[in-house]
Amino acid sequence: MNVLTCKELSKKYGRTPALSGVSLNVESGHIVGLLGPNGSGKTTLIKLANGLLTPDDGTITICGLLPGKGTHAQVSYLPERAVLPEWMSVMQILDYYADFYADFRRDAAQEMIHHLGIDMKQRIRQMSKGTREKVQLIMVMSRQAKLYLLDEPIGGVDPATRDYILNTIISNYNPEAAVVISTHLISDVEKILDDVIFLDRGCVVLESSVDEIRETRGVSVDALFREVFKC
């Protein structure tokens, strides 16, 4: 079943095109890598799927619905920046997610927070950058969503945190859901992907499964990426 569908999707910032006629499908049960260099349109695509931007042309739908109140209940979104209000404590953030999302597994989130040794009363302001990112990811992965949209989940973190993040994703996502991970750090995520979508300057240049790339071309996705986006 298609969870995320784009048809001829286009978006410009002023005169600069960010996405030009992108059409793609993401099926349930798949972990998909949205790969491309900086400025290729990955974040724009994810923000359009969340209704944070409005398309200039074409459509984007989630389970057949246009982005809005109905899709927000089914999509769990990790933005590429820190968005949790700094004054909030972990406890207040748990309240927040539990109040608004019926699919939030509070006990799972609490367990992961506890495992990291974070105090429930600690405020976001008092946390290091890495801890903030982990808390944000825990909230996102504690939902039983239909679609997870993870924008640069491993950008700018140390290798140990990277492993923690990838493990948290694998061990928590809903198996019937689709997961979209945008990143340019391909070698790190390659092992957990089913399929990849290469974006270049707002266009889809490749859609394939990871096994297919390795089987038919005999190279890793990372090597193929370096070849396709050679400067």
């Binding site: 493990n167 092992k191 957990i192 990871v210 390795r214 089987e215 990372d222």
Partner: protein
């Protein structure tokens, strides 16, 4: 169990090989229940779908079997495990021979190299202090 991956082979193929090694070396003993797909995938740091595919392949090869409610188990068929061990060893030998051929080392040279290697091993065994 230590998992490691190379770049030029499909992940599921590498998973199959590594689980096979686990079975023949006793890391996954005969008749023992395997961890769940998700746990195995998390441990190896791979996609659960890929792990599922690898296990399905191993099942069709008769190395693991599933019981509807209890999960997946390692086969108790010792001859099957023995065959697998031999297959794995043969693959290594084939790879070794390929490397020797590419270096243009003759059959006799290869054999003497191997004998010297075995000699070294027994030598160190006899004189542990050296």
């Amino acid at each position: 169990m230590k998992w490691s991956f190379v770049n030029d082979l499909p992940i599921y193929a590498q998973l199959i090989e590594q689980i096979k090694v686990g079975i023949v070396t006793g890391a996954f003993p005969p008749g023992e229940r395997l961890p769940s797909v998700r746990d195995l995938a998390t441990e190896a740091g791979v996609n659960p779908n890929t792990m599922q595919r690898a296990l399905a392949q191993l099942e069709s090869e008769g190395l693991v079997y599933s019981q509807r409610t209890a999960g997946r188990f390692v086969t108790e068929d010792e001859t099957r495990i023995g065959e697998t061990k031999r297959d794995l060893a043969q693959k290594h030998v084939a790879r070794f021979m390929e490397a020797m051929r590419s270096l243009a080392i003759s059959r006799e040279e290869t054999l003497s190299l191997l004998e010297a290697e075995f000699g070294k091993e027994t030598g160190t065994n006899e004189c542990p202090d050296m």
